[in-house]
């Protein structure tokens, strides 16, 4: 927000200062960032991590349901005796009801536990919890990548078919409603949600970096979308497609309800039965650290609008969203989150376009000083 409000003050168009444009954009950005922190940064994280854990805790039931689903479809196609089909259908209904009953207890409990842990950090000041989670996250990320690579290596012969399936799905009319344009919209939405490129949220964290060279920090920031989306998301997509879970009719409900974490768990389980357990822990830690980060983004925006003394109001609302995110459907959370996160990009990108001259000048100056050898090599602290 500061770069919009203060940066645009120095820009003049046709002799007129863009100060008030900057103020309006900054307020607009702050409001949307608060909304995004409640949606994508909070409710969605809880929702997806809840989905992954729910699957792990009911893994046997889900496996039996998938098996029943396949047997029922086969029974219908082979005109199996009515009483046997009825027995299968009855057992499927029984298991689904059991899952729903479990969910009715688990979801609010999970939301409450997560709200307590997040509250301990953002209100209670127990930063050790957040610090520990943040330190474990890179290891979990590496472990997740290792699992995905293992799946890809195990199915190495199908990687090119998987890429082809993704490519064809994207560029044929069968791919998605709206054809290529629809795929682009979905792809851009999911990519922007994943790496937050152009949204302006990560810049709030980078602004807290201890550096005298903003351009250098910008280079560090460039790595994030590459690692996050080009590497991790591509691997996840390949794993889901290669495992056959993307086209499995038994997963139609999961796909329709945007239960991405559960779908990934299914895909990993097809290779090793214990992979979903690792995924569950990883998703839990990723969700927790992401919520802490987004609580910081939203809190900064809130205090800019309403003052430091009102930050407790934001924190309480945030914790409410943590609980709420665990009990509502993923689709609703995702739609709200997409709206807020993508809307944030509007004032941010407009501000970047107006300020690109300043950034370009800073970048030129940085490279000039770099070539002149002004920067001393980094000496590791012994």
């Amino acid at each position: 927000m500061h770069y919009l409000r203060d940066g645009l003050t120095e820009i003049r168009v046709a002799g007129i200062s863009l100060r008030y444009v900057g103020v309006v954009l900054a307020i607009f950005f702050a409001v949307l960032c608060i909304g995004a922190s409640f949606g994508g940064g909070c409710a969605f994280q809880v929702n997806q991590s809840r989905g992954a854990l729910e699957y792990i805790l009911r893994q046997d039931t889900h496996n039996e349901l998938r098996s029943l689903h396949a047997r029922i479809n086969q029974a219908k196609s082979t005109h199996l005796a009515t009483n046997e089909l009825t027995a299968l259908t009855s057992r499927r209904d029984e298991l689904q009801q059991s899952n729903e009953k479990f969910a009715s207890y688990f979801r609010p409990a999970y939301g409450l536990v997560m709200a307590i842990f997040v509250g301990l950090v953002i209100i209670g000041g127990f930063r050790r919890i957040a610090a520990t989670a943040s330190r474990i996250v890179p290891s979990m990320c590496a472990l997740y990548v290792a699992m995905a690579i293992y799946v890809l290596i195990t199915n190495a012969g199908q990687i090119d078919d998987a890429f082809l399936a993704i490519w064809n799905g994207a560029f044929t009319a069968k791919g998605i409603t709206g054809g290529v344009l629809g795929v682009m919209v979905i792809g851009i939405k999911r990519a922007a949600f994943s790496n937050e490129a152009g949204v302006g949220s990560a810049s709030i964290a980078h602004a807290a970096a201890r550096t005298d060279e903003p351009i250098r920090e910008g280079f560090v920031a460039l790595l994030e979308p590459f690692i996050d989306t080009v590497v991790i998301c591509t691997m996840t997509g390949l794993v889901i497609v290669i495992s056959g879970q993307a086209l499995n009719s038994a997963n139609a409900d999961l796909i329709a309800n945007d239960e991405g974490a559960q779908l990934t768990a299914l895909a990993l389980e097809s290779v090793q039965s214990w992979f979903p357990l690792v995924l569950g822990v990883a998703v839990l830690l990723f969700a927790f650290s992401t919520m802490i980060s987004w609580s910081y983004y939203g809190e900064r925006c809130w205090t800019q609008l309403f003052g430091d003394r009102s930050s407790i109001v934001y924190k309480i609302l945030f914790l409410f969203c943590v609980f709420f995110g665990a009990i509502i459907t993923a689709t609703n959370v995702l739609q709200f989150s997409d709206l807020m996160i993508l809307a944030m990009a509007l004032p941010n990108i407009l501000g970047l376009l107006l300020l690109n001259g300043k950034v370009r000048a800073s970048l030129r100056d940085y490279w000039r000083r770099y070539r002149l050898g002004d920067f001393e090599p980094h000496q590791p602290v012994s």
Binding site: R127, S293, E299, G307, D308, S311
Partner: protein, 142 residues
């Protein structure tokens, strides 16, 4: 208000352009420059701040840097005897509490003149100090 020079005067300092004239005004009202206490109030660190989570910043470091910055800003010879202090918290409350602690007779501060929505939501630090202070408060307007 008595025009007898004050023994202890507190001047809140936020590094704005208006802060230095406030110190100059305090120098005119105080008996000795050593009776001036220039105080900067740092905001409270949020537990979710990246620097806090990764333990790369702490209050002692911030306090030290703020003190150094104030001394650099007020490096002129006439400011040499002034006391510099840094507190952490809400500016209005901390300045009022500090003034009580040092038994200040006067607080001199500029007003930034917030208006409109920011005044409604964020309020004026000057108003808060005037309301909470135990002593006289001189608010300097532009």
């Amino acid at each position: 208000m008595s025009w007898i020079p004050k023994q202890t005067v507190v001047v809140p300092f936020d590094f704005s352009e208006r802060s230095i004239p406030a110190v100059d005004t305090a120098l005119e009202l105080v008996a000795q420059p050593s009776g001036i206490h220039v105080i900067h109030v740092l905001p409270t660190l949020e537990p979710s701040e990246p620097g806090v989570i990764w333990s790369t910043i702490d209050n002692s470091g911030r306090t030290h840097h703020a003190e150094e910055a104030m001394k650099a800003k007020l490096a002129d010879a006439m400011y040499q005897s002034i006391n510099f202090d840094v507190e952490i918290g809400d500016p209005g409350h901390e300045v009022a509490e500090y003034a009580k602690r040092v038994s200040a007779e006067l607080i001199v501060l500029p007003s930034h003149g917030r208006t409109g929505i920011s005044r409604l939501f964020i309020g004026s630090v000057a108003e808060r100090i005037v309301r909470l202070a135990h002593c006289l408060v001189l608010v300097l307007r532009d």
